[in-house]
Amino acid sequence: MVIATLCGMGFGTSMMLKLFIDDILKAEGIKAETNPWDLGSFKGNKADIVVAPVDMEPHLRDYPAKIVLIKNLVDKQEIKEKVLGALRELS
């Protein structure tokens, strides 16, 4: 299972989301690879789930993965519910 996080640069917001998700996965005892991606080059990469800020939605419309859009990037509860929800759907 590969979870990618997306932002413009690929090391700011996406890195923060990755760290939050790592914490969540660890607490839940789930094993998955998490990778921060940048908007410019992500289409060449593969992931099962892509987590992104809600305003990135237009860039992700045709991307073949489960897309998780986050409204409040620092709301750990929202990230947790949405990511775990997506994981449940896929398993």
Binding site: F11, G12, D38, L39, D55
Partner: protein, 438 residues
């Protein structure tokens, strides 16, 4: 002695020092051996990729500077690109007089000081924005290096300033962050802090927070600008064609193709120059990504163990969802501010930083959000403008007076720092050093 020399040359090689930091971080997190090896290797490769990107970027930048030199007759002004990651990446790659290693060690020990300051003062913050940790360490190491100190002195002094900065900047911004986010959960961790605070202070004078920019309906989306490859291409194409147009007006098509493009058609040459610059930036960013992707989690893991309950200081985009309209106001007024700053600088004959879409979107956007928090929509417009205008004057000042030393001689040809959190403390310390005749 040979062994000692080998060790010495290793600990003065930036890529190796950064790899070492990542390796220690991964070991402290008790990662598996395979992960430790992978992370260490990727960090070293990241630093080497940055060097490749820098070469391409500077290679494409010099023709654009030639355009402006040829295009503006008699006493034409000097132009340069303002891009923090490029400055630090370039001087670290060149590694003249151990500077690259000094930056890497400052990054490590500066963070140690930061953890101590956050632990033992009332300001419990953890600065987690990886590229800014690297850039700030680079700026302070450059600053003390420029005074001619020996390597250990540079690392000690730069680490102390860096460590205090990493704790105090989020603390300074926190009152405004509470207004923006409506909570006390997260802090601001980006080198923009001082100019964002200028926006917040100015906002207070011109408007009321109740008159928020966020009450206006805006349908337009600027989200395509968040794709670096698009936004940098647009701005560099504009800049390159304006420069090429100026050059053509002075030396004509034949002169252009003879003196600048080596016989190539001027349109093709200008187009390729602009896009090659963007390609260089993208390679550079890939290097930065690999460099910090292992170090940031390590710093986070260690800091959280040592400072329970600390607030994370995070990258600027975390505040964008709270004020998307202000972000767009800032993009517009910030661009105007940059152009106004360029005009003033050209008139007084100072070096002119070329416009930056990154600064307009990420920095003026954040400045506008700070302004909106204290002064509503008027504050947002003013905050974005001031970031561009005052920012451009500061950037030019630091470049002209070589506050961080002679960057061109150190490998960063035609490049300057952008972020006020490097430039303002830099100017203060540089000024004090001047008083003491350093």
């Amino acid at each position: 002695m040979a062994v000692f020399d080998a060790i010495l040359s290793l600990i003065t090689l930036p890529a190796i020092v950064l790899g070492f930091i990542a390796c220690v971080g991964l070991l402290l997190q008790k990662k598996a051996a395979g992960d430790v090896f992978k992370g260490t290797l990727k960090t070293i490769l990241g630093q080497l990729i940055i060097g490749v990107g820098i070469t391409a970027l500077i290679g494409a930048l010099s023709p654009i500077q030639v355009f402006f030199e040829k295009g503006i007759p008699s006493g034409g002004f000097e132009t340069f690109v303002t891009y923090d990651e490029a400055v630090v990446g370039a001087v670290q790659t060149a590694n003249l007089a151990n500077l690259g290693a000094e930056i890497a060690w400052t990054m490590l020990f500066g963070y140690v000081v930061h953890i101590l300051v956050s632990r033992f003062t009332k300001h419990h913050y953890i600065y987690l924005t990886g590229h800014m940790i690297w850039v700030q360490a680079g700026a302070f190491a450059l600053l003390f290096h420029s005074f001619g100190f020996a390597t250990p002195v540079v690392v000690v002094l730069a680490s102390i300033v860096d460590g205090f900065y990493l704790t105090l900047a989020p603390a300074l911004a926190q009152p405004v962050m509470r207004l923006i986010t409506g909570s006390d959960e997260i802090a601001f961790g980006h080198g923009q802090t001082l100019l964002n605070m200028l926006g917040a202070w100015a906002g207070k004078l011109v408007g009321k927070p109740e008159d928020s920019a966020e009450k206006i309906e805006i349908k337009e989306s600027f989200s395509f600008l968040r794709d670096m490859s698009v936004s940098i291409s647009i701005i560099m194409l504009l800049v390159a064609f304006i420069g090429a147009g100026l050059a053509l007006s002075q030396i004509g098509v034949a002169g252009f193709q003879e003196q600048i493009s080596g016989g190539q058609n001027w349109v093709v040459y200008t187009l390729l120059t602009a896009l090659n610059f963007t390609a260089g930036v993208l390679v550079l960013l890939q290097g930065v990504r690999m460099l910090i992707s292992e170090i940031t989690p390590a710093f986070k893991g260690i800091a959280e163990k040592l400072i329970p309950g600390a607030k994370p200081a995070l990258d600027c985009p975390v505040i964008y969802p709270y004020a998307p309209n202000s972000l767009i106001f800032g993009l517009i007024s910030g661009t105007i501010g940059q152009v106004a700053g360029m005009v003033v600088l050209a008139l007084i004959g100072w070096p002119v930083p070329l416009p930056s879409m990154i600064a307009a979107f990420f920095a003026s956007g954040a400045g506008a959000i700070f302004g909106n928090a204290t002064g509503g929509r008027k504050g947002a417009w003013l905050g974005g403008f001031l970031w561009g205008f005052v920012g451009w004057l500061l950037i030019s000042f630091a470049y002209k007076f070589q506050v961080f030393g002679d960057l061109s001689a150190l490998g960063a040809v035609g490049l300057g720092f952008t972020i006020p959190d490097a430039i303002v403390p830099g100017i203060a310390i540089w000024g004090i050093a001047k008083l003491f005749g350093l």
